[in-house]
């Protein structure tokens, strides 16, 4: 009976997961209709998978429910900070914020600083601003805020949860802690030890565990309605990929560099060619990591958003009958992809590190 009940709740929850974004767009769309604007699926999708300076949940314009986030800009005159709510949900560059004698506008979530003396932003034929420039934007954007959430969750789960249990007793933990420990052991026994080897894996465990849980939890959070698309952002994956690259470059041993730059056991004339290929490979490997994670997560979001967007493109509520089940299906699939991508990123990082620290037998 309870099992049945919990199943029903789960189904409702999953349905809500798929339908909630739909409600959000429905509201946006009705607003757009009032303004007699065409529904633009590309804009809608780009808006949802992109980063923004405020955390928008629902509603449009001044009626919307948006969590204001701090905007931090580094200009020639030093740091400037203000809340994103000061733009009043404007992303078209109309609303000018004055701070420390400088004027700023939000143009499609890029913050521009108007040149001295300019009152409003002016565009050229390609819709590029002509009288404004971009300062260094270090704002706590929606993605950064979501990242903080992941950090908080990980500290809750592992530091306050699992590690506290382990400090108290060495017995196997129960309940959720046991699930977490199983996952930690999964990373150790299925990823680190097979790829890096019994002797050296321990050194890389902190990185592998952190990157695995960071990606997985962030991926799952990204599937929640109204959540940010953190791991589907190229800046995030570039940063993560560079960590792997740094570990390879720092820990690569003599054998690794020898096999990369002057491969033993092949004719000398092949060696320079192979050195170019292998040398490029050193960088291509982490670049592939960056692109794979970004593309997979973004693609998943785009598919779901496109299926929902179909309803508005075809302007028929009937399409929802097909779109929503499809979107639901993709969402469930994304739950799997969320784990899979975290797993792939971690196991490939471990593999590359393992190759860099491997002790070759000398022939």
């Amino acid at each position: 009976m309870t099992a049945h009940k919990s199943l029903v709740i789960r189904v409702y929850f999953t349905l809500a997961l798929a339908v909630f974004p739909l409600l959000t767009f429905a509201q946006e769309h009705s607003e757009a209709e009032n303004a007699e604007e065409e529904f633009n699926a590309t804009d809608m999708i780009m808006h949802h998978i992109g980063d923004s300076h405020g955390w928008h949940f629902f509603g449009e314009g001044d009626n919307s429910f948006t969590l204001p986030l701090p905007v931090i800009l580094y200009t020639d005159n030093g740091l400037v900070t203000f809340m994103s709510s000061e733009f009043h949900h404007d992303t078209e560059g109309h609303h000018v914020v004055e701070k420390d004698g400088m004027r700023f506008v939000n143009l499609h979530e890029d913050i521009y600083r108007l040149d001295a003396g300019a009152e409003s932003v002016e565009f050229d034929a390609e819709h590029h601003p002509v009288n404004a420039s971009k300062p260094w934007d270090l704002s706590i954007t929606k993605n950064v805020a979501a990242m903080f959430l992941t950090v908080i969750l990980m500290v809750l789960f592992f530091v306050i949860g699992l590690a506290r249990h382990h400090k108290k007793s060495e017995k196997a933990p129960k309940g959720f802690n046991n699930v977490l420990e199983t996952l930690v052991l999964f990373v150790r026994d299925e990823i680190a030890i097979p790829q890096i080897g019994e002797k050296k894996y321990m050194k890389f465990m902190p990185f592998l565990l952190t990157v695995f849980f960071f990606i997985w939890i962030t991926n799952l959070m990204g599937l929640l309605p109204g959540a940010a698309n953190v791991t589907g952002n190229i800046a995030v994956t570039v940063s993560l990929g560079l960590f792997t690259l740094a570990l390879i470059l720092i820990n690569g041993n003599k054998d690794y560099w020898k096999h990369t730059l002057w491969m033993p056991g092949i004719p000398t004339w092949v060696k320079p060619i192979l050195a170019i290929v292998e040398g490029a490979g050193v960088f291509i490997k982490p670049i592939a990591l960056m692109i794979r994670l970004f593309a997979n997560i973004t693609a998943g979001h785009i598919i779901i958003l496109s299926l929902i967007g179909l309803i508005f493109i075809l302007e028929s509520a009937g399409v929802a009958g097909i779109s929503v089940p499809f979107a639901l299906f993709i969402t469930v699939l994304e739950l799997l992809v969320a784990f899979l991508q975290a797993f792939i990123f971690t196991i490939l990082s471990a593999l590359f590190i393992g190759m860099a620290v491997e002790e070759h037998e000398h022939h």
Partner: protein
Amino acid sequence: MDLITPEFGLFFWQTIVFLVLLFLMAKFAWKPILNSVRNREQSINDALASAEKARKEMQNLKSDNEQLMKEARAERDAILKEARELKEKTIADASEEAKAKAEKIVADAKRSIELEKQSAMAELKNHVAELSVEIAEKVVRKELSSKKEQHQMIEKMIGEAKLN
């Protein structure tokens, strides 16, 4: 904000956040968790090893016991066998001795009976001889009571003697 152009701000924060997270997790989560798990695995392995050792010891004890039992049983069997043999030998010796004794007794008896018999026979012969003599005396006395008869007798005897 472009899809495939990394933004510096987000990159910056991701790097900082990840480094801080890495430090926090490594120091306060992964280290204690992994150490504790390793200790637990070590203690499980130790426990398993000692259980295996105890099992082997038990087995050794058991086989020792069995060996002892087997030896004891063999010893008991040997003792019993010896006893049985001794008993049989004793019985056999005794019966043989008795038989010999009995035979000797019988033989002695037979011999004495024979002797008795012989002496009795001799005595009897003597008696018969005496009796015969007496009888002959009496007969002779009676027959030779008349002169005629005496003559006849003498003549008969002389006649026989002549023939010789």
